[in-house]
Symmetry: C2
Subunit: 389 residues, 2 copies
């Protein structure tokens, strides 16, 4: 009993964590429950269909399948589903009509041929990167509806009736999903994307601001800051896929809050890739925090102040850029920090040019030199990010 009790506590803790990581998840779950209940009961009471017929089913199915976490994803799926059903329905009706005309013998052959050619072609089209990104679901529904309509053994007038009922139920299901999704605590993919871009830059800034201090921190000289708290930037390294899907969702969204319709969402991919360029440098820098090779004190003395300055100023600049993104203002407040960090880099170059090193073990200089040159890289990355906004 002790063991199972511990397991239950552990499980409850996990549930709480999933909810706390993003409280909007709880809202989303309640919204999905609400939308499905609405549609289900609507059809349960609807006297027109007396009970739960086969068409009403499509309304529930549409709500379950279309309702996604963000507004953009929901709209994208809903539009894909609606459009694909309409187009494939029309085409399928045509194919069905054509097959009937060809007589009883030719009908199944022609139908089989149509279905085979269309399913093969559309499946192949799904491999096109652009189609996959935006219309994958629509293409799937296109195949589905075409097969259902064209192969249905019914006569023309019954097919039309069926198509009419399907379209209307899908409309009701889709509209319910979109309505609940937008009207109750909407989650905009565009907002998420915008915040992701800002926090990613901020994470790099937090690391850089403290890196200089950490790197020149002598062991034994008081407690070092917890190094684990500096590892927040790691998530930036693998942010590409989340970013791309958010961009695809955001492009479906209408104007909302501070963003107009046709906000240049694609630009965030460019900012993101520059951020990752910078993150790779930071990852390399991080490797030197735990390096065992000690920099000789003479060199330390020369580079310490400039390096600290370079690191903290570029960190501050990145943080300012993140703030500017968040408040949608031009990142002018970042430029003094960039200038300062560039001056520190110039200063360091000057120091190194005059202070020719005598009798210094080149090997021991390596980590310090690497850190210096990576920091110079980081500064140029920072500048590029600031320019791109």
């Amino acid at each position: 009993p002790e063991r199972s009790k511990a397991k239950i506590v552990e499980f409850a803790r996990k549930i709480k964590k999933v909810g706390q990581d993003d409280p909007r998840r709880i809202n989303h779950s309640l919204k999905v429950g609400l939308a499905i209940t609405l549609v289900s009961l609507f059809y349960y009471f609807e006297p027109l269909y007396n009970g739960f017929g086969d068409s009403a089913m499509w309304a529930v199915l549409t709500v379950v399948v279309v309702f996604e976490f963000s507004v953009g994803a929901t709209l994208g799926r809903g539009l894909n589903r609606g459009l694909a059903t309409f187009l494939a329905g029309t085409l399928g009706f045509g194919a069905h009509h054509l097959a009937i005309l060809s007589g009883e013998k030719g009908e199944p052959i022609l139908l089989g041929l149509f279905v085979f050619v269309l399913a093969t072609t559309v499946t192949f089209v799904r491999f096109f990167p652009r189609m996959k990104a935006r219309y994958d679901y629509g293409l799937l529904i296109f195949i589905l509806t075409f097969c259902l309509i064209s192969v249905s053994g019914y006569r023309d007038d019954k097919v039309l009736d069926m198509a009419h009922r399907r379209v209307s139920t899908i409309l009701i299901g889709g509209l319910t999903a979109v309505f609940v999704c937008i009207c109750i605590c909407p989650v905009w993919a565009g907002d998420d994307l915008h915040n992701l871009a800002a926090t990613n830059i901020e994470k790099l800034g937090i690391f850089l601001e403290r890196f200089g201090v950490e790197f020149f921190h002598k062991s034994g000289e008081g407690e070092s800051i917890n190094k684990a708290s500096l590892q927040g930037y790691k998530s930036v390294l693998n942010s590409k896929n989340i970013e791309e899907s958010l961009v695809n969702f955001a492009r479906w969204e209408p104007g909302h809050g501070r963003f107009k319709f046709r906000h240049p969402w694609k630009h965030y991919i460019k900012i993101g890739s520059l951020t990752r360029q910078c993150a790779y440098r930071v990852e390399a820098l991080n490797g030197y925090l735990n390096s065992d090779i000690k920099t000789p004190p003479e060199i330390r003395g020369i580079i310490k102040d400039s390096c600290k300055k370079m690191s903290s100023e570029s960190g501050k600049a990145l943080k300012e850029i993140a703030l500017a993104i968040k408040s949608l203002t031009p990142p002018s407040s970042a430029s003094p920090h960039i200038v300062k960090s560039k001056n520190a880099a110039k200063n360091l170059k000057f120091l190194l040019n005059t202070d020719l090193c005598k009798d210094i073990d080149l090997l021991e200089v390596v980590p310090a030199a690497t850190v210096t040159s990576l920091l110079i890289d980081v500064i140029s990355c920072t500048e590029k990010i600031a320019d791109s906004i």
Copy 2:
């Protein structure tokens, strides 16, 4: 007409490229076409259902939705769909029965409550990272089937009949999809994962093998190799997501070819993350290929041979590791290269220790020093990768 002709040619070129990038895509498209045609015509001819009834529809729907590119994905979806339909059907039947017992007034209230609670809970469960990775589709189908069954206005015996027909049609659809997917040119996610791990390591090896020569290549000293051909490693940086989904698919697959069932697929995630660690260093190295700071000739002379050796030997070691993975043998042939590269690193350290530099501009040493230390990092990464296999 000139313009539209150019556009058509461009479009044809794109189609060809998608096909050439992975010829299995064409096979896959044909397989999907075949499976859907089979199921469609089967139901078209089936006298039992006289024509295309509402249950037969589920077979086509199942094929379209379940048929994925790799065997693992198809099996995963099929099992998810089958199991979820069965469980939700049973539960839905129970809920339906319970609601009827509560009388005519309580029925819709109780039904609405059931649907709301279940939809909300299951939607929340979909946010659990582990559930999302393997059972996301099953949970979706679970909500769907539960709602359809429990809210259906039919009486108990009709519900049972409906459930029976749905399960049999889904079985037929699912089995057709799985059969065509496995029996005709199967695409195993496990094979893809295995090859991905090997080629990613190989790409790093190719870069490193040529990096030393490129870096110490004097401009004007004959044509340099095309630098673009060295950029193949870039795809390794963002390989995490593809890897994770392939692992999830591979875990559904039965034993095939050289892999037994329950092959330790999760181990590939570890290998992948070590590979990416190495790739981040390589990315930093790549930045120095185009650096403008010239290394002074004295230093060049000292480090050139050792660095070249370190780079080419670690590259060779990685290539050997990739070969060993491909042929499923222990990577013993890589160890002499690792030893050689370590010796080169030791040698370099020794040289730098004796050859104290006099009158050398520290600034100009920076790129060389960085490259050296990154190479040392790369060697330790290489060793870790070799150990992990």
